[in-house]
């Protein structure tokens, strides 16, 4: 398997082709078979490869499998090559298995959708591209996957293509991602120009060999720009909440568990570079922290179940970036893994809720679902506890590790405290809005219509099994930190956290988790929706600002999109017309001269004679 790593992404790709080309004709049965099966096979193949790798490279060296020389042109280019190393393996396992679960879940969730085959072919394609992303041995190959997942994200967000907002959201996602890709591309250009290669290992090696620090900082910041796009960080996070327009399993897979975390992978992968550029690291951490708190506050006032989760995702991604930003790469990756479990679980759970509610997504119309859909409720609760950061669930460990590392980071110690503080406050908000969501959804009494109530039912097994598995993961994920297992396995660079700080962080985390939960219970567990209304009454400005997500979308529209569009119109109607006008003017002048000359031609022969004679005189005057 190690020498056929390409099979891992190729299997879902095959699934994509089969579904895409024949799915429509061969029917849903075929699709239900091919879709999950190809992802399953891929997961199995991946796992086998991992086992073989473990056997063959006990020291965690890099294994590279070159498929063929993809591009080669005057010193620029790369092999199409896949690699396995611990970091890839973590990503590989998360992607394939979570991916498989969500495939499975989708069989149930999407069963009645028109375009079932289309959905699965996209999903398979996504898996393939995501695997290329995490397995690629160079930035260029990674970029292939990077763009590919962007495409699939676009296609899947816009899956309900006859809904305007879905399509617009898909486009927004793609375009915003492209802005990030711009950074990625330029970073690669820099690598080619100065290092002559984009191979992960070679780049790190050359950079470590001593190059201008400014160059490394530039590359790192550019890569991070890419990451902010894909991982929805400030200032490019705006696409992710909108992306909830896609089917819910998609949100779970792409916009929670896998794709959006690619940015974190993107920072962890070239950690050698980042460590050479502490300034860049600082930027990452600051952006991460700001995003974490920013998105968390917005999450408080969202009423769409998926929107809450979306902002939560943004916020959690912010945590991950704090982690990698302060140089605690392992912590970042750890949170990535745990987040994959609980956030996938939450999304799938929300999907199950929506499924049960016949498509209703507004939590103000839910409530009291605890009894009706127990499996969903339980798993949702577990995941909520995990994300809120209660020990000993997985979220606690990973979040705590990040915050502790922030407190202790050696790269910019002065700032570390602030980042920790912000992170902790964000954690408080996290616990608060998550439990608000939980209480409003499952607690209290049902606020929906009769009809909805009548249809309430638990989901089929293909949907609940993944929920259970993911909930289990949410609970047990913390185990990875036992004995610093993950740390040793990943062998990412790390630093010591003094016990005092570790304890401080841990205690603070626990306290904020409890506090947040208690607030949520006190407000929403008891009063339900009334709490929201009271908030609105007490601080209408704040409430409205939060509800409208700080008006960032509006700001972007007003400050960027509209002026740019106006400018474009000006170019078209103004500049183009001006150019045409100038050229036309030239034409008209010639034509006008011609017309004037025409009137020299009076038809009177004496005039011609005069013209002749004047010509003679003038010529004599000039030339004689």
């Amino acid at each position: 398997m190690l020498n056929h790593l390409w099979l891992i992404p190729a299997l879902p790709l095959l699934g994509f082709l089969l579904n895409g080309l024949f799915g429509k004709r061969l029917g849903n049965g075929f699709v239900s078979l091919v879709g999950p099966l190809s992802s399953f096979l891929s997961a199995v193949a991946g796992t086998v490869a991992v086992l073989q790798y473990h056997h063959q490279y006990p020291n965690g060296d890099r294994h590279v499998d070159v498929v063929y020389n993809w591009i080669s042109s005057g010193g620029v280019g790369a092999d199409l090559a896949f690699q396995l190393d611990p970091l890839s393996i973590v990503m590989l396992l998360v992607v394939t298995w979570v991916g498989f679960l969500i495939h499975l879940y989708s069989v149930g969730y999407m069963a009645h959708e028109e375009g079932y085959w289309r959905y699965f072919s996209y999903l398979n394609l996504f898996l393939a591209e995501m695997l290329v992303l995490v397995l690629g041995s160079s930035y260029l190959v990674m970029f292939v996957g990077w763009e590919g997942v962007g495409l699939c994200s676009y296609l899947l967000i816009g899956f309900y293509y006859d809904k305007d907002f879905a399509v617009a959201a898909g486009k927004k996602a793609f375009v915003v991602n492209r802005i990030g890709d711009f950074g990625f591309l330029v970073a690669m250009f820099l690598m080619f120009a100065y290092f002559g290669t984009v191979d992960f290992a070679k780049v790190s090696q050359i950079a470590s060999g001593g190059v201008e620090p400014g160059l490394v900082t530039a590359i790192c910041l550019l890569l991070f720009l890419g990451a902010t796009g894909k991982s929805a960080q400030i200032p490019l996070y705006v696409w992710l909440p909108d992306a909830m327009a896609g089917p819910t399993p998609v949100s779970a897979l792409i916009h929670a568990a896998t794709m959006v975390t690619a940015g974190v992978y993107m920072i962890a992968r070239p950690n050698a570079l980042y460590r050479l550029a502490p300034d860049a690291l600082m930027v990452v951490a600051i952006i991460g922290a700001l995003t974490a708190i920013f998105a968390a506050t917005i999450g408080i006032r969202q009423n769409d179940i998926k929107k809450v989760l979306a902002y939560s995702t943004v916020s959690q991604l912010g945590f991950m970036f704090i982690g990698v930003g302060v140089g605690a790469f392992t912590a970042g990756i750890f949170h990535l893994i745990t987040h994959a479990f609980f956030k996938a679980c939450l999304f799938l759970g929300s999907g199950s809720v929506i499924h049960a509610m016949s498509g209703e997504q507004d939590i103000r119309r839910m409530g009291g679902l605890w009894k009706k859909i127990p499996i969903t409720a339980w798993t949702f609760l577990i995941a909520t506890i995990a994300i809120a950061g209660f020990p000993p669930l997985s979220g606690f460990f990973s979040k705590d590790e990040i915050l502790a590392s922030a407190l202790a980071n050696p790269y910019f110690p002065d700032l570390g405290v602030w980042i920790w503080a912000i992170g902790t406050v964000a954690a408080l908000f996290t616990a608060f809005y998550m439990f608000r969501l939980f209480f409003l959804t499952f607690g209290g009494s049902f606020r929906g219509t009769q009809e909805q109530e009548h249809h309430l039912h638990e989901s089929p097994w293909t949907m609940t099994v993944p929920l259970v598995v993911l909930a289990a993961g949410s609970i047990l994920g913390g185990a990875l930190t036992v004995n610093h297992f993950l740390e040793h396995w990943l062998e990412l660079p790390t630093f010591e956290v003094s016990p005092a700080r570790a304890w401080l962080a841990m205690i603070a985390s626990t306290i904020v988790a409890i506090l947040g939960t208690w607030f949520a219970y006190a407000l929403f567990g008891r009063r339900g929706l009334a709490a929201d209304e009271r908030f609105e009454r007490r601080a209408p400005a704040v409430a409205r600002t939060l509800e409208n997500k700080y008006y960032v979308d509006e700001f972007y529209d007003e400050a960027l999109v509209t002026p740019l569009e106006r400018f474009s119109r000006f170019l078209w109607r103004g500049i183009d017309a001006l150019i045409d006008g100038i050229l036309a003017l030239g034409g008209y002048v010639v034509a006008a001269v011609g017309d004037l000359l025409r009137f020299l031609q009076t038809g009177n022969v004496r005039n011609y004679a005069l013209m002749f004679f004047v010509g003679v005189i003038v010529f004599i005057w000039i030339f004689a």
Partner: protein, 485 residues
């Protein structure tokens, strides 16, 4: 000079083409007198005469005759061929045109022949006397040919205009010649050249003479600003004659000018004379092309375009070298094909000849009558100098000559005005293929086998010269080298 010309050896061979044409003309005249029944065969007979003349060119001996006043060489042969080609094409187009208009007669072809004789004299004369005589013979015939369609007023008016302007210009030519005669004691080019090499280049009188002579010749060339007559005359003249008129006399004048200028070579360097030719060239290109844009009448448009083409030909004249003479020869042959072809298509339009033949008349013609449309398109593209037509090759040659001799600035003017010219040539193609004719107004070309044959000759010629110009170049080049030592 005192040698008795009648015993100069080979004189019959020397002027064989002229003799054939003179006699042929007389015969056709006589034929006309014998009655209407024979009128149908006048055109074929005329063709035969022209062809025989062309064939007789092979028998012509090179050399100088009549006491050094008449020179026959390779270049005159090429120009003779050009004249004959123009005449043949004109005859072919005229045949059906005259028949349609009911004015057929042997006189027409006779005059065409004598005009050709006049042009041959212009091309071969080594003495201004011969040249002017040829010019007058040509002019007299043109006066008549232009006014040949007597029943329609425009033809008469055109004839009047050409006559008055022509006679006026003749006055200037003669006066210029007289002044030159005073300065050089001769009107013979060889002797003039000798005199010029010792003449005072600052003599204003000489320059005045040059301007007078050039303006007269410029009139014949229809070079701006002596072009005033051209559009009106072309419009009024019978279309086949207009085409012929726009080409052949210009060619004859140009070759005469080449001889004249090479006689003046010593003067040219120290005077502004070449600058005058340059000015004529630039003015012609600019005025011709600009004014053509405003024209909707096809014949007037072609007239203006002809003015512009004279400008191009004059570019070559600027550098008096063998190459430039060859370029002029190539250009005139090419121009004969394409311009007479274009006028020929116009001549087939069956409508009242007193009305202008506008662009609207050819709207949609390309699909109504594919052959005529194609022929006109080819002519237009050749006129605008786009490959792979002869027009391209000819223009290439002209500009190459200009570049070779360092006249880049004027070549740029030529190129820029060519761009303008593309516009109006293109407009013809636009009308041919892209414009629907007005309701119930679809003129179908009335050309028969003669016109069709002429168009075929035109097109084949344009493409053959465009694709395989080598033989023509070889001929013209060799001839030009012989002309200018």
């Amino acid at each position: 000079m005192t040698l008795h010309p009648l015993i100069e050896p080979g004189w019959v061979n020397a002027i064989l083409p002229e003799l054939v044409l003179c006699v042929g003309g007389l015969l056709l005249m006589l034929l006309g007198a014998f009655g209407a029944r024979l009128r149908g065969i006048t055109a074929p007979l005329a063709l035969i005469v022209f062809i025989v003349t062309a064939w007789s060119e092979k028998l012509v001996l090179a050399g100088t005759f009549f006491g050094g006043t008449y020179e026959i060489s390779g270049i005159t042969r090429i120009f003779d061929i050009t004249f004959l080609l123009s005449a043949i094409l004109a005859t072919l187009f005229a045949r059906e045109y005259l028949e349609r208009e009911g004015i057929e007669g042997g006189e027409f072809y006779a005059l065409l022949m004598w005009a050709t004789v006049g042009m041959m004299m212009m091309a071969k004369g080594l003495d201004l006397l011969i040249v002017i005589l040829g010019l007058e013979l040509l002019s007299i015939c043109i006066f008549v040919l232009v006014g040949y369609h007597r029943r329609i007023p425009v033809s008469n008016e055109a004839s009047l205009k050409y006559f008055l302007m022509g006679a006026f210009a003749t006055g200037f030519i003669l006066y210029g010649t007289a002044l030159f005669y005073g300065a050089t004691r001769s009107t013979n080019f060889t002797e003039m050249a000798r005199a010029f090499s010792t003449a005072d280049p600052n003599n204003v009188l000489l320059s005045i003479a040059f301007v007078l002579l050039m303006s007269g010749l410029g009139f014949k060339l229809a070079a701006a600003p002596f072009h005033g007559w051209a559009p009106d005359v072309y419009q009024g003249a019978p279309s086949p004659i207009a085409g012929w008129l726009s080409v052949a006399p210009k060619a004859a004048t140009l070759i005469a000018l080449v001889r004249l200028l090479s006689a003046m070579l010593p003067m040219l360097q120290f005077s502004l004379w070449m600058k005058m030719i340059a000015a004529l060239s630039v003015l012609s290109m600019v005025i011709g092309n600009a004014a053509a844009i405003a024209q909707r009448d096809l014949k007037r448009m072609l007239a203006y375009s002809g003015i512009a083409h004279v400008g191009y030909m004059l570019i070559a004249l600027l550098s008096l070298r063998d190459d430039s003479v060859a370029a002029i020869a190539v250009y005139t042959i090419t121009y004969a094909l394409m311009n007479i072809g274009a006028f020929g298509v116009v001549s087939t339009l069956a409508k009242n000849q007193n009305d202008p033949q506008t662009l609207d008349d050819i709207a949609g013609l390309g699909f109504r009558s594919p052959f005529s449309g194609l022929a006109l398109t080819v002519c237009m593209f050749s006129l605008s100098g786009l490959p792979p037509t002869a027009g391209f090759i000819a223009k290439f040659y002209i500009f190459k000559t200009a570049v070779d001799s360092g006249h880049l600035a004027i070549a740029i003017v030529g190129i820029l005005t060519s761009i303008v010219s593309v516009y109006y040539y293109l407009r013809v193609v636009y009308y041919l293929y892209m414009k629907e004719p007005a309701e119930g107004y679809a003129i179908v070309p009335a050309g028969g086998i003669f016109a069709t044959g002429a168009l075929a000759i035109t097109m084949i010629g344009i493409f053959v010269i465009g694709l395989f110009p080598t033989p023509l170049f070889a001929m013209a080049g060799a001839a030009a080298r012989a002309l200018l030592p």
